[in-house]
């Protein structure tokens, strides 16, 4: 596709349920990033992948959060036993290569998660 795509665009779930959020990066981009944007807040870094490996997982808020990337392309962010404080917009971005400092990160439209 022409840009980063994310699905679903909106997700409403009940507290305690697990959710999976999907990101399709721009074709050929080896780096993929996950951020979280809470209402009225800036973007909070969660995790990034270079290829299939995740050099930095330091931003994951708790062990309920995990992410994987297979085939150097699609990534899935999983939140287990969701809590109301997990409600936010989850943004995915990709870039050609995370090891190049000025590489532009291109963002998807986000998944809006609401935990009831």
């Amino acid at each position: 596709g022409a840009g980063v795509s994310q699905s679903p665009s909106n997700k409403v779930t009940e507290k305690g349920k697990d959710v999976e959020l999907r990101c399709d990066p721009i074709s050929g981009h080896t780096a993929l990033y996950w951020y979280r944007q809470s209402l009225g807040q800036g973007l909070e870094f969660l995790i990034y992948f270079q290829g299939n490996s995740a050099p930095d997982k330091s931003g994951l808020p708790s062990d309920r959060f995990s992410a994987e990337r297979t085939g150097g392309s699609v990534s899935t962010l999983t939140i287990q036993r969701t809590q109301q404080e997990d409600s936010a917009v989850y943004l995915c971005a990709s870039s050609l290569d995370s090891r190049v400092i000025q590489e532009t990160q291109y963002f998807g439209p986000g998944t809006r998660l609401l935990v009831l």
């Binding site: 870094f45 990034y48 943004l91 870039s95 090891r99 400092i101 590489e103 963002f107 998807g108």
Partner: protein, 115 residues
């Protein structure tokens, strides 16, 4: 804790006026400073970026000013237009090899340009 502090939270400017957004940081390892523009319902998009080896960068109506000694940088939007109404985020990225892509964002500034 927020590693990049951004102000103001919001600002209203008349069409044709100048919008100024300021950011400050503490981490001297930061080596790349992009600004992102976000419209409602959309993901952020890169607007303009600067490295610390220059003090100013201009692209069209958008200018970044960078003060390395003060660890501050700002975005100026000249001749502001209603289409510039959006949320603007400053960000910074460290030079450490394993963290080059790890952008630290400010809290954002909502800009409203009135006709």
């Amino acid at each position: 804790q927020q590693q990049v502090k951004q102000s103001p939270q919001s600002l209203i400017v008349q069409k044709g006026g100048i919008s100024i957004i300021n950011c400050a940081y503490e981490n001297t390892a930061f080596d790349y400073f992009p600004w992102y523009q976000q419209f409602p319902g959309k993901g952020p998009a890169l607007l303009i970026a600067i490295r610390p080896d220059v003090s100013e960068k201009k692209e069209g109506r958008f200018t970044i000013s960078f003060n390395k000694s003060a660890k501050q940088f700002s975005l100026h939007i000249m001749d502001s237009q209603p289409g510039d109404s959006a949320t603007y985020f400053c960000a910074a990225s460290p030079v450490l090899t394993d963290s080059w892509g790890k952008l630290q964002f400010g809290a954002g500034t909502q800009v409203v340009v009135t006709p």
